[in-house]
Every structure is written in C-alpha cells, then in structure tokens.
Symmetry: C2
Subunit: 131 residues, 2 copies
C-alpha cells in the first residue's frame, strides 16, 4: 500500500489508491484501504491533503513539509517547496495569540497545460472561492 502511494507521482484520492491496490490484491476491501491510509498518516509515513475543493481527501507519500498548487482547469496538484517565512509565522502568532504549530497552503490557478489549451476551466468551474 505504501508502495502504491510511493509509486504515485500524482496525489491520489483514497478511491484511486483503493483501485490501484486492488490491481495487486483484488480481494482487498475499501475499509482496509481507509484503515491503512489512516495508519500511514498517523505514523507519519504519508500525508493527508484536503485541497479545498470540497472533494475527497488526497494522499501523498512525500512527507517533507511542502505545499501544493492546484489547477482550476484539470484539478492536478503539484508540489511546491517554498516555506512561508518564519517572520511571518511569528507575526501572525503574535497578532492572533495562537500557538501556531503548522499551516496548510494551497495556491490555485492554471497549470501550464491548461494555459496552453485555452483557459476554460472545464472541470469544477467556480471552485472553493476563498479568494
């Protein structure tokens, strides 16, 4: 299962992980996939992503701290490795009074492919908003 996740260069949803794992062991059930995914996440060997489009959670075997850019056209998510400056975190902690332990950051826009193929976001026109 972790192998399936490691082999995936995209960010598969639980359903996609289920489908891929089923190719290797067809008798597996979805409950086991969700259980194992939860286990991997809780032991820190995978990351659960909520890419803010209200859709299913995605999973990522890249456990280093990183963010994502999500394409409004095709829904693809690519990794972004560019941390928020510490100074900004400290400033926000100071202003809000929160003890900040982490953050989730997703950029949205159009991936190079969708920019090339004319810019009509065919998929989930609208998206989550919050912009």
């Amino acid at each position: 299962m972790l192998e399936v996740l490691r082999a995936a260069d995209d960010h598969p949803t639980a359903a996609e992980v289920y489908e891929r794992v089923r190719r290797a062991s067809p008798r597996i059930g979805s409950a086991t996939v969700y259980r194992t995914l939860a286990l991997l996440v809780s032991t820190g060997r995978a990351l659960e992503l909520n890419l803010g489009d209200g859709a299913a959670a995605r999973y990522d075997a890249n456990t280093r701290r990183h963010d994502h850019a999500v394409c409004d056209g095709c829904g693809r998510a690519v990794d972004i490795d560019h941390p928020v400056p510490d100074g900004m975190m400290a400033e926000i902690a100071r202003r809000s009074g929160f003890a900040i332990t982490g953050y989730d950051l997703q950029f949205r826009g159009l991936c190079p492919d969708c920019q090339a193929n004319g810019s009509d976001p065919a998929r989930t026109a609208g998206g989550t908003g919050q912009q």
Copy 2:
C-alpha cells in the same frame, strides 16, 4: 440569510446557518439554504471555506481577502489579515509554471483559550496532518 451570515462572528457551517435561519423562518428547507449559500458565494457576497479538517464547509460574510487560524483544540477559526508577499507568489508562479490566481492559507495551532485550559486537543485529535 445574508443577515444571519453577517451577524455571525464565527464561521458557521451550512448546517449551523440552516439552524439559525430556521429560527427566523422555521419552514425553510436545507436545500434552500444550500442553494442560497451557493448563490451568495457565486455572486461574491460570501466566502466558502474548507478548513482542511475534512468536515463541512464553512461560510464567511467577510469577503475581503483573508486567511484563517484554526484551533486544534476547539475547532474555532479566526480571521488573519496578513497577505503572502507578492514576491513569494511570483517566485512560486515562476518555478511551477502555474498562472496563480489565488491561494488558501490556514494556520493551525491552539487558540489562547485552549492554551490556558491545558493543551489536550479534546476534539479531533490528529487533524488533517499536512504539516
């Protein structure tokens, strides 16, 4: 409905909005609430928030660009008004090739209340991870 949202200083879920609206007009149905919420979001008079905890979407009548800090203890979300520097956006756009139109940023940690009341995250221990 927009009044209910404007009166809310928290960030209510659709179910909470439904409940509050129902106090004013008890015969309203949930479909109408979801429809109206979607309308408000699509006309830019409200913001839909996915706070990444896998739970229901939240709504916010504050339509200015802003981010949120979510408490791992009580689930409360407070507004943060501290934009990501333009330089960082440009750098990420350049590196990823994306035409970036916006971003969603949520900080997580413990709010001042939960820091005071001992720091056992009673609620959704675990959270979304991605950190």
